[in-house]
């Protein structure tokens, strides 16, 4: 009897220790998650703080007279300059005038052209229009330029600051929503540069990538998992597919350069080739995810179908594939998200060029979002820093959307049991 109570006492003593160990283990987990979330939050916050400015652009209100002679000559920027001269009549020296012109964007004239195109009746009339200021004025407006720094060390001269303040006092300078950022291609001028070219390049590349890698990946996974005999050859193929998934992406870029450009003579910098290279990269991901999804389908389903007299193809198409589809789609979208964020292989096939036009076909020269981020991050202008972060926000937005899509698709398919 005492033996039994001693026994239970020993267990009691052990219990306290066990509870403590469990508590400790749980707190480690919570700390780990906390650190991970903190890093994520810091990263997102840093990007947002730097990038949100790019969604607004400084505009100045100018009184422009659409003079017939200059409109006929297509000298739109001339109109801007004339208007500036009229606004600041006290500026007479040549060098000062040149400085004065620099407060407006060199693309301001295009906006005037657009206004004229939309409504030719403005010819000969005088209008007050909001036009984009130059990137330096934009930075000054957003407080990124320190006025206390000596003049020769800052991007904006004292005179420009005076003009800026004067405009400001007249309420002729404002921050407007930066539509151009979403509707324009790349530019040397930060205030004119937009993300649309890169977004289109990425979308076109991803379309090619999806069209190639999804059917190929699914067919490969289905064949290997459901039909291929299990022998040395299929083992070898399996090992190679797994190795392929681990190959650094730049190698696929080199392969694309050698195969698609130099041998097949496909156009350089084209989303078509970009998509093909990205497809090489995503294929192993899709195949591996697809096989895992197929393996997760219970064998009893296959037996049931075979037992009903379904052929192997019917069994796969009617029963196994629909059940594996959610897993396959998840794998595919993860692969696509990887491809969207990939820049190295695209550098190899020339999708890193400075391209102003927004691509509209699969063979137009294009860049992609991550490459655009890289290009802007490399530019010296202060205003590009902001745009780099904004482009990252756009890229993250796409990634989040894709992941949401994956979740929604999975839920939708799952409801069909």
């Amino acid at each position: 009897m005492s033996d039994i109570s001693a026994h239970s006492e020993r267990i009691q003593a052990g219990l306290a220790k066990r509870y403590r160990a469990e508590k400790r283990f749980r707190s480690y987990g919570i700390i780990a998650i906390g650190i991970a979330i903190a890093f994520l939050a810091i990263m997102l916050l840093a990007i947002f703080v730097r990038g949100h400015g790019a969604f607004q652009q400084t505009h100045a209100a100018l009184t422009v007279t659409f003079e017939e002679a200059m409109v006929q000559d297509n000298d739109w920027q001339g109109l801007v300059k004339q208007s500036l001269r009229e606004t600041f009549p006290e500026v007479t020296a040549r060098s000062d005038k040149r400085k004065l012109y620099k407060i407006m964007s060199s693309g301001a004239g295009f906006d005037l052209q657009d206004i004229y195109k939309e409504d030719p009746s403005v010819l000969g009339q005088t209008r007050t229009v909001w036009l984009p200021a130059s990137d330096d004025i934009d930075m000054l407006m957003k407080g990124a330029i320190d006025r206390t720094v000596p003049e020769d060390e800052r991007r904006v001269s004292d005179k420009e600051i005076v003009w800026f303040d004067q405009l400001r006092a007249d309420d002729a300078i404002e921050l407007h929503f930066n539509t151009r950022f979403f509707t324009a291609g790349d530019s040397r001028e930060p205030e004119l540069a937009g993300i649309l070219g890169a977004v289109m390049g990425s979308l076109l590349s991803l379309t090619v990538c999806l069209l190639l890698s999804f059917p190929l990946g699914v067919m490969t996974a289905v064949y290997l998992e459901e039909f291929a005999p299990k022998n040395k050859w299929t083992d070898l193929i399996e090992v190679n597919i797994n190795n392929l998934a681990a190959v650094p992406s730049i190698v696929f870029g080199l392969l694309g350069l050698a195969m698609f450009l130099n041998f097949m003579l496909l156009p350089r910098s084209a989303p078509l080739v970009g998509g093909m290279v990205l497809a090489l990269m995503t294929l192993p991901t899709i195949i591996i995810a697809g096989r895992a999804a197929l393996r997760a389908v219970p064998p009893s389903i296959r037996e049931a179908a075979f037992g009903m007299g379904a052929s192997p193809v019917q069994t796969v198409l009617h029963h196994v594939l629909p059940l594996a589809m959610p897993g396959m789609l998840t794998g595919t979208i993860i692969g696509m998200a990887q491809a969207l964020g990939e820049s190295a292989p695209l550098l190899m096939i020339g999708m890193v060029a400075f391209i102003v036009d927004v691509p509209s076909t699969f063979t137009d020269p294009a860049t992609a979002l991550p490459v655009q981020i890289y290009l802007w991050a490399d530019s010296p202008e202060r205003a590009f820093t902001e745009r780099t972060a904004a482009a990252i926000i756009v890229l993250l937005g796409f990634l989040v959307t894709m992941n949401l899509l994956a979740v929604i698709l999975r839920k939708k398919f799952e409801r069909r049991w």
């Binding site: 005999p229 299990k230 009893s300 037996e303 049931a304 075979f306 037992g307 009903m308 007299g309 049991w417």
Partner: protein
């Protein structure tokens, strides 16, 4: 006598003279089955009569399932499985060249140990077989097949108002009856059942046994069971397998009350198993 303590042989098990002379639906001659190098069945000779329940009994791993799966060639999809000898359905060798397994499996249906309805609606579960075999021309024809199959499986009243609900949402016993309904929807001649009640509770088991007893009017049934009571309750013929051999077969009454081989005797009295 001592045996009766373990196993009551019901009236159903007694075969009258007329039906025992009925033609044999399936005959197996000198069947050997190998999994790779390992021989799972040795020289099996067994005749399975029409419109009766034949029970396959024996200790686990003795090859009952293997034999059952030979009868509709389900072993074809198992890697490394080889079948030698002859198995005839209505006098035709089902392993002969040119025999279509799709057609064979429409004639020889199967119900598995674990209920395995498709993850689709109850209606679609039943309709699947008729659909792939092209048995119904119209939607009304399909409805008819689905209703009669569920009716015969004794499930119709329980699912009439939820034909669109998932088959996987039914209880275990209902799922197994759904699988039986699915099998009979293609109007097979033979139904193979591999331990159909082993995953079910006693009440569900009783329902299935009752169903099997009714089904034998129209179908030839071959059933694997690990329960000797069940074999005694529902079967007319019994075959006893042991380590890949067919030790003894004959009328269920004979096997349970008067076994000739001592291994059979040991098994039915519960000494080996």
């Amino acid at each position: 006598m001592e045996l009766a303590i373990h196993t009551e042989v019901s009236d159903k098990a007694r075969v009258d003279g007329a039906s025992s002379s009925a033609p044999h639906k399936v005959t197996a001659q000198a069947v050997d089955v190998y999994y790779g190098d390992k021989q799972a069945l040795k020289n099996i000779n067994l005749d399975i009569p029409s419109n009766m329940v034949t029970a396959l009994i024996g200790p686990s791993g003795c090859g009952k399932s293997t034999f059952l799966r030979c009868l509709n060639r389900m072993n074809d999809v198992v890697d490394g499985c080889r079948v030698a000898g002859q198995i005839k359905l209505d006098g035709e060798d089902i392993y002969a060249r040119g025999v279509d397994v799709v057609h064979l499996r429409a004639r020889v249906g199967m119900v598995f140990q674990k209920p395995n309805p498709f993850p689709k609606s109850i209606y679609d579960n039943i309709a699947y077989g008729p659909k792939i075999h092209g048995l119904a021309r119209t939607r009304a024809g399909m409805d008819e097949i689905v209703m009669t199959s569920l009716e015969r499986a004794g499930l119709l009243d329980e699912v009439r108002d939820r034909m669109d609900a998932p088959g996987t949402g039914l209880s275990g016993g209902q799922q197994q009856r759904l699988c039986i309904a699915r099998a009979i929807a293609v109007q097979p001649e033979v139904i193979l059942m591999d331990e159909p009640c082993s995953a079910l509770d006693p009440i569900a088991t009783a329902k299935i046994e009752e169903l099997i007893d009714e089904l034998k009017q129209n179908y030839t049934i071959v059933m694997v069971t690990h329960s000797m009571q069940q074999a005694a309750r529902v079967s007319q013929k019994t075959a006893f397998f042991h380590l890949g051999d067919l030790v003894e077969h004959g009328d269920t009454t004979e096997i349970f009350t008067n076994p000739k081989d001592e291994r059979t005797q040991a098994y039915v009295t519960g000494r080996i198993g």
